[in-house]
């Protein structure tokens, strides 16, 4: 490098060791929490939403710090966000279709 006049006007961000370590520890603690809530507490109908909520928090940590989206510009966040947006569109119309055709069991029997 160094032969270019623009060199140095933008530098790579180094994510500190302590942040990476803490994120890893948080993910491990949340994994224990997932197992604990699912296996040792009987949450009934809340089991799936709770498991999903913990998974969502873990996913946010991975995306923000390991994948570095916290340190990115908005461009890449929007790009990645479109994936989830269209996934939501897919889920919405699939659910809408099936849940408006009752009785549901008849469709599959």
């Amino acid at each position: 490098m160094g032969q270019n006049a623009n060199h140095g006007h933008e530098e790579h961000h180094i994510i500190p060791f302590s942040i990476l370590r803490n994120v890893c520890l948080a993910l491990l603690v949340l994994t224990i929490l997932t197992v604990f809530t699912a296996k040792f507490i009987h949450l009934g109908v809340l089991a799936t939403p709770v498991a999903f909520l913990i998974a969502f928090v873990k996913a946010m940590l991975v995306m923000a710090y390991f994948m570095g989206l916290k340190y990115e510009g908005n461009g890449n966040r929007i790009i990645f966000g479109t994936g989830f947006f269209f996934l939501a569109v897919l889920a919405f119309f699939c659910v809408l279709d099936i849940w408006t055709r009752l009785p549901v069991q008849d469709i599959f029997s």
Partner: protein
């Protein structure tokens, strides 16, 4: 990669159509993020299917999950989280010029991938032996729910596709490790490590959802 130029010393020079090295880095990374969108959509379809059929046949999914070894799933979760950490650390160390530490991190990441696949092998073998297989291959005689083959269809498709990603990720990290050992990366150029890292993290990300949904909640 045809536009990546390497000088005799192995130092990276950005392709001529980029303004500067950072421009090349950001462009490459944007491409990786677009690729990640396709990954979300590919796995997303399976997740939407899972949620719909889970809502239709909750007992089936509960029975299916009871056949899975959740302790093995939990072990694999820990292994993947650790590997994601070492992957992120390898980039951290390359950026700080600590090359031997980065080498160690990349090797540990690949080893974690191997551990994950070995655990998966034991899980799959047990399911195959008991006849807990998708669709017409299902021949487990003590099944209560008639739709149990459907659950194992989801199980094998989702974990199988994920497993393929683990193997691909390991190969890519191997390629990055090879280039790293050749001294191609430095604090100013580590684009391939960054890209492969993002891919490896999405493998972790998907498992974070697969583990509770398949093994725990069911």
């Amino acid at each position: 990669m045809s536009t990546v130029n390497q000088t005799a010393k192995g130092e990276h020079h950005y392709a001529h159509h980029f303004r500067d090295a950072m421009h090349e880095f950001l462009t490459s990374k944007e491409g990786i993020w677009v690729f990640m969108v396709t990954e979300i959509l590919m796995f997303g379809g399976l997740f939407v299917g899972y949620f719909i059929f889970h809502a239709l046949y909750p007992e089936t999914f509960h029975e299916g999950a009871s056949h899975l070894a959740w302790k093995m799933g939990a072990l694999n979760t820990v292994v993947l989280i650790a590997s994601s950490w070492t992957m992120a650390l390898s980039i951290h160390y390359i950026q700080r010029g600590l090359n031997s530490k980065a080498t160690m991190c990349l090797i540990i990441t690949i080893l974690c991938g191997f551990i994950f696949m070995i655990v998966k092998y034991f899980e799959y073998t047990s399911k195959i032996q008991h006849g807990l297989l998708p669709g017409k291959f299902f021949h487990y005689h003590e099944a209560v729910s008639q739709q149990l083959p459907l659950y194992f269809g989801f199980y094998f498709c989702m974990t199988g596709l994920h497993g393929i990603h683990v193997v691909l990720g390991m190969s890519l990290i191997g390629w990055v490790l090879y280039r790293h050992l050749k001294g191609e990366f430095n604090p100013h150029y580590f684009t391939a490590v960054e890209g492969v890292g993002i891919f490896w993290h999405i493998v972790d990300l998907i498992w974070i959802f697969l583990f509770p949904l398949l093994y725990l909640v069911g």
